[in-house]
Point group: C2
């Protein structure tokens, strides 16, 4: 077999059976091997940022790593910003990058670059295969590194000549390390703190799930401890099916009073809350100076099991009854509240929601608390362009679940190529573009940072409505069926149709 075939076989043996790819010349032997080694689902993307974001979404939705196949340094470069998000989400990803044949590296061809340097910006594990025989073992190592725990983007660079050379060696699968249970001292300390006033538990990492919320709810009911959740995590169990722990607010003005009374903060796979950005007159840490942190479970430890241990013997909690809202049917100009209400009324149970709503998030998040139980995949690293790719990867990973992408009109333009992959793979993704024709978040930040630049030129840099983007047209041009809504009734009706449909669709929601 070739080195490329060994790579493929080792991926499959290691449980990595999906690869998001945008290959080039150096990767042709990998592509040729797709037919010789059956079993890998290869998903073509028209831009590498779709590959990296889709792998992140796949990992968030399934908990398992997918692979990406990218072409040399520049192909990897195009994937980096969504790998940054994957890194912050602790998503396991096996990032495979082709390299020139080794004798060709000395000649400084046009595409020659320092691939390791690109990779190290987002990967702790960066490994260049040293021979055809080394490809298999290096692949197995990279898969193991991707798993963690916690998960990470692990990069394997494969020179083309090793890919096309013969080898007899496959990588031996390395079982992923078990997610460790936190030490007893951490549990004992947390148990003692639960009896103290001013104690709160912050859920983050992989512990904003149904089990963790249920255990935390029992602890809260029995001890009065506040339960709060982190914002920028891979996935959040959300909706009326789950214990309703409030989230740390986004802006410091709200986060500071929200956290002010906390004297002991028990961290479950989370860090002390910080401001997303710095501002001239607010601190970076959102808890008070007198607040002390206690790590119950570090990143990569099993915070959920730790919470269940703390909750052992405590009585179950009855969830508050939340009325199921009705989708608004008024013939009035469309607002974020209408969209939120529609989602609350119609979002199918067990949906996956990919979030890149940016400035439109607040109101819609409020309504989603009343929706059927779903998993919400928020912004993690703040790099714009993740919403549509994450939805794409989640839909590949979980074909039985409906995926809803909630996307800004500005943020959607970073990786619109995702729509084509959704169409090609006939993915069950409903994309909602929230159209306000502004970089609205920057309008807010312009004031908050004290820049106060509202002159004509500054204004025009925040204005993406000159000219208007036609999202319905963009979607249809990429073979995704699309509708446009300007009233509450239209949006409800289009959304109802969209979730009934198989395959992708897009609703351009023109906000009044």
């Amino acid at each position: 077999m070739t080195g490329a075939e060994s790579l493929l076989r080792t991926l499959l043996a290691g449980g990595v059976d999906t690869c998001f790819m945008n290959p080039g010349t150096s990767e042709m032997h990998f592509i040729a091997a797709l037919d010789r080694v059956p079993g890998l689902r290869s998903v073509l993307c028209l831009f590498e940022g779709v590959c990296s974001g889709a792998a992140d979404g796949y990992a968030r939705a399934t908990g398992r790593p997918a692979a990406t196949l990218l072409h040399l340094g520049p192909g990897l470069a195009n994937g980096l910003s969504n790998f940054h998000n994957a890194r912050k989400a602790r998503s396991p990803v096996v990032c495979i990058v082709g390299e020139h044949a080794t004798p060709h590296l000395k000649v400084e061809a046009p595409l020659t670059s320092d691939i390791q340097a690109f990779a190290r910006t987002v990967s702790n594990h960066v490994r260049t295969a040293q021979s055809a025989d080394d490809i298999g073992p290096a692949t197995a190592e990279t898969i193991a590194a991707a798993w963690g725990p916690p998960g990470e983007v692990a990069t394997l660079i494969v020179p083309a000549d090793y890919s096309w050379s013969k080898t007899e060696i496959l990588g031996q699968s390395i079982a992923p390390l078990a997610v460790p249970f936190p030490c007893n001292q951490a549990l004992d300390a947390a148990a003692r703190l639960l009896r103290e006033p001013g104690t709160a538990i912050l859920l983050g990492g992989k512990s904003v799930n149904e089990r963790a919320l249920k255990a935390a709810g029992r602890i809260s009911a029995a001890t009065g401890t506040r339960i709060i959740t982190a914002r920028n995590v891979a996935k959040i169990a959300s909706g009326r099916a789950f214990y309703p722990a409030p989230q740390v607010p986004y802006f410091p003005e709200a986060a500071l009073p929200f956290l002010a009374d906390i004297q002991n903060l028990i961290l479950v796979e989370a860090e002390r809350p910080v401001s997303f950005f710095a501002y001239p007159s607010t601190p970076s840490y959102m808890t008070s100076d007198s607040c002390r942190d206690f790590v119950l479970a570090a990143r990569g430890e099993d915070g959920t099991a730790a919470l269940e241990a703390l909750a052992e013997g405590l009585p179950p909690v009855v969830l508050p009854s939340i009325a199921i809202p009705k989708a608004p049917m008024e013939d009035v100009g469309l607002t974020l509240d209408h969209i939120g209400l529609t989602l609350a009324a119609l979002l199918p149970e067990n949906s996956l929601v990919s979030d890149e709503m940016v400035s439109s998030a607040g109101k819609i998040l409020d309504h989603l608390k009343s929706a059927a139980g779903h998993e919400f995949m928020p912004v993690t690293g703040g790099s714009i362009g993740q919403g549509l790719p994450v939805a794409t990867g989640a839909a590949i990973g979980c074909p039985g679940r409906k995926v809803v992408a909630l996307e800004g009109d500005g943020s959607g333009m970073y990786t619109p190529q995702s729509l084509w992959t959704m169409a090609r793979e006939n993915l069950n993704v409903v994309t909602v573009i929230l159209v306000n024709r502004r970089y609205r978040i920057l309008e807010i930040e312009m004031q908050r940072t004290g820049a106060h630049g509202f002159g004509e030129k500054a204004e025009s840099m925040l204005d993406i409505g000159n000219p208007d983007l036609n999202w319905t047209g963009i979607a249809r041009s990429l073979s995704v069926s699309a509708t446009c809504a300007t009233t509450a009734r239209q949006f409800s009706s289009h959304f109802r149709d969209a979730i009934r449909q198989t395959g992708p669709s897009l609703i351009e929601a023109l906000l009044e």
Copy 2:
């Protein structure tokens, strides 16, 4: 003034008056300063790869640096692949990247990353401002570094708190270094070689221009020396107005015999020709083992002046007369030859042509030799996604010239957001999308690399026609007027209309 205002004033004082931007929160003080410090043309792009490619195009077309303004590490990451191309083109670019306020860096906020590490992948000069007072001097240094010679992508990282703090200090403009004339020994050695058999001159870098070609033509006529040109340079004087020096062929099978007889290769701002990719059975260097290289002018030296010195006293050369072709008007299926003929007939004199034709390049390049004199901006670093951004930046830099972007349907999908900026700025760009619905170049490379993967799955990874991309629809959705051509007559007619029009247009050329 604020640090941001000092940055702006120093840019303008240093002759940098255009900035391609996609700002975020950390850059708001720079945006606010746009109205307080008049004179900077700020061009909004919806994706950072458009900013970096446009700055490359601006530099190639004008010879001067533009600035880019990008948001933190991930914003820079999205620009890296086109900066890779700019680096290989030796384009001067002043790359400004916002950073979190310095006290915020310790808290590991979502967007925190190692910006210097991202920047070093494409920049030799990477500088983080150390205070508000340091912003001006650091900006002046960065501009000087960008100029070179040779030009480069020089990066300045500006923490937000320095941007919003007060300063009295402006950067003192540093005059760009003069482009040095090569040393006399190099000239004497070259002059001696011109009398030897088997000598050729390879023009590269900034020396594939009208003056250099004219001087080289005189040398060739007087001495019999072969004149050849490099492929992957920033800009090539092309068309019937210029001395017709043939280009080193792309594929090794053609390049090897083309260069086989050369025993002495005089390099003018060029390196020994290498294969773009490595293949199992061809060497990396395209000249014969016995060929010796002589550097007449290194990168950053004035190769054109050196050629003129060598040609001093030699008689002028009369250019071969080339018949002006007629645009084909047959009602037959559209081919690359039809497109080439149309360009040869109708391309306006002094146009700038941005090339990302990939597999379609060969035939069209042949025809462009007969076109009116124009400047051709080819692929430099091989990173896909440069064609539309480079055209955008060239049109901003040279508003009096027609820009024609020749783009593949696959390659165009990496940075389609460029079309929106063309519409917004009403740029004189005619974009031709060459539609073959394949990654055709990979089909060729699949065979060349010996991978021979033409099974169903491999095939599908090269097939971008499932589903079809509707380029007319994409363009119109981004406010660029668009037409579709399926016959020779339609293409000629649409192209004639397009070059008469002011503002951007796109022709979707459906190849038979």
